[in-house]
């Protein structure tokens, strides 16, 4: 009967599609992260070191932050990606074994806790609240929350945001800080910074707030040359760390060692010059005295 034939074709189609979906985690940079891992490692056997020895590492990165983590076609580019490559090399793994998974601010902890990714290098600020859920290596960069405003704006400090419209991304630390400390400001939330920048360019918001290095990445884009300025007075300290599973102390310590080595052998500077350094800012010093103790 026709129905059975239709049903059979449908079943075959579904099987084919499921095969395709499950087989997707082979390529890098498609961001489906179909996570066949067994959840957060609680021993060296499933930690980052073991994964690297197995030849494949899943790294969560941002896909929409120029200079830091940007998906360009099928590949990812940016300072965070370069750090991932340095860490992979330090763990004795080929660059080609890195699988990049797109993460957004709100799902970085869940992805680590569920094992969807092994590491998160996605402009990930270290703070006490997150430390209860994940472990941090680093910091590998010290950013600060700042404001991006039009070049002719009079806003020069977060206190001046009273009654003004400021834009950020849902679930991010900068958004929370505005909600908690600067309640007089009107907070517009979107799911992506590119939308905030568009709103700023169009005048719907008066400022965009997030880490200064991310803002600089956007302001340096050729389309916005001369239109925006970063206020330049960071009002917080945002240490960027490498997120990994809470129980993986050994992996965390190893990554700290790799960072120390990168600070002295020039690979850190090279990573900076290749990406964010193009804006003209010289590479900062990686302060190895501030590295976490991986508790």
């Amino acid at each position: 009967m026709r129905m059975t034939r239709v049903a059979a074709t449908a079943a075959a189609a579904v099987l084919a599609l499921t095969m395709a979906a499950c087989g997707d985690d082979g390529g890098s940079g498609t961001g489906t992260g179909s996570g066949t891992g067994t959840g957060s490692g609680d021993s060296n056997a499933t930690g980052v070191i073991a994964k690297a020895q197995g030849g494949s590492l899943k790294v969560g990165v941002k896909a929409d932050q120029p200079g830091l983590g940007l998906q360009t076609g099928t590949a990812y580019e940016g300072f965070d990606i370069e750090m991932a490559k340095i860490i992979a090399k330090g763990l004795g793994m080929q660059e080609s074994g890195i699988q990049y998974v797109t993460t957004v601010s709100a799902n970085r902890e869940p992805y680590i806790q569920q094992g969807t990714v092994d590491l998160v290098i996605a402009t990930y600020t270290i703070n006490d609240e997150r430390k209860t859920k994940v472990n941090f290596a680093g910091p590998y960069f010290m950013a600060g929350q700042d404001l991006l405003v039009p070049t002719d704006s009079t806003i020069s400090a977060p206190e001046q945001l009273e009654g003004k419209k400021v834009c950020s991304v849902t679930g991010s630390t900068p958004a929370k800080r505005i909600q908690e400390k600067y309640k007089g400001a009107q907070l517009q939330l979107f799911d992506a910074y590119s939308k905030c920048i568009t709103a700023l360019a169009g005048g719907q918001v008066d400022a965009v707030t997030t880490d200064d290095i991310i803002l600089a990445g956007y302001a340096a884009q050729p389309q916005f040359a001369g239109k925006f300025k970063v206020v330049g007075k960071p009002f917080s300290e945002e240490p960027y760390g490498v997120g990994l599973a809470k129980a993986d102390k050994a992996g965390c310590e190893k990554i700290n060692e790799i960072l120390k080595a990168a600070a002295s052998d020039g690979s850190y500077k090279a990573a900076w010059d290749k990406t964010l350094g193009k804006s003209g800012t010289p590479a900062p010093e990686l302060d190895t005295s501030k590295l976490t103790n991986c508790a």
């Binding site: 869940p110 679930g171 009107q186 907070l187 709103a199 169009g202």
Partner: protein, 224 residues
């Protein structure tokens, strides 16, 4: 209930749902009005009106609501500079209401049109015979009967609208789904409880509404 015994969380939960209810109310009213007008346009003798109604329905029924809400902010507000309020939150609220209304109106229009098809042609013929104009025929004879015939589908549309209001969260309004996401992110260990409370609230409101519309449809059905 550890999560919700914290007054801040409970307030957030309540305010999230209040936004949902407000949006549902405002959008439902607007969508009904626009939907009736659209249905009238689609069956009218003027070709331009028919074309406009058909275009509206085809465009808005085939576009994801997420994109429509997006265009409300970046199209209506950002590019066409139509500001519906000076306060940012209220502005987003009204932009969301506009988006929801134009989307739902397309479905209301189609439901009404199928309702118009159920009205026996004799009714309209008799109306014409006694000299009623097109708009009088619609207003006095056809639409009341059509409306009574499609109460059940309109109830479905209303319930779908209530659920769709969660999508306005994509332009930053702190309605129920955004609040739920925040609470889950901050209290990961009580995910099930949080989800059941939010889902349960929706179910507790919408399931009785569904049965109410079923009862109402039976009550008001035109007995032929």
């Amino acid at each position: 209930m550890p999560v919700f015994s914290d007054p801040a969380n409970f307030d957030a939960y309540v305010s999230g749902f209040l936004w949902i209810l407000k949006m549902t109310g405002a959008s439902a009213a607007l969508a009904l009005v626009i939907g009736v007008l659209l249905a009238g346009m689609r069956v009218s003798p003027v070709p331009v009106l028919r074309w406009f109604g058909a275009a509206w329905v085809n465009i808005f029924r085939n576009t994801p609501l997420t994109l429509i809400i997006f265009f409300c902010y970046f199209g209506l507000y950002a590019t066409l500079t139509i500001s519906l309020s000076d306060d940012l939150i209220l502005n987003n609220f009204w932009l969301g209401v506009v988006g929801l209304s134009v989307y739902t109106a397309a479905f209301v229009c189609e439901a009404l049109r199928s309702g118009i098809n159920t009205v026996p042609p004799g009714q309209a013929e008799a109306a014409r015979a006694i000299g009623l104009t097109f708009s009088q025929t619609l207003r006095i004879v056809v639409l009341p009967q059509a409306g009574r015939a499609v109460i059940a589908p309109l109830g479905s549309v209303l319930i779908a609208l209530c659920k769709n209001t969660t999508i306005v969260g994509t332009i930053g309004l702190l309605e129920a789904s955004n609040i739920m996401k925040q609470l889950i992110n901050d209290n990961g260990d009580q995910v099930i409880l949080i989800f059941l409370v939010f889902a349960g609230t929706f179910a507790a409101v919408l399931i009785p509404v569904g049965y109410f519309f079923g009862w109402l449809a039976n009550r008001l059905a035109v007995k032929r």
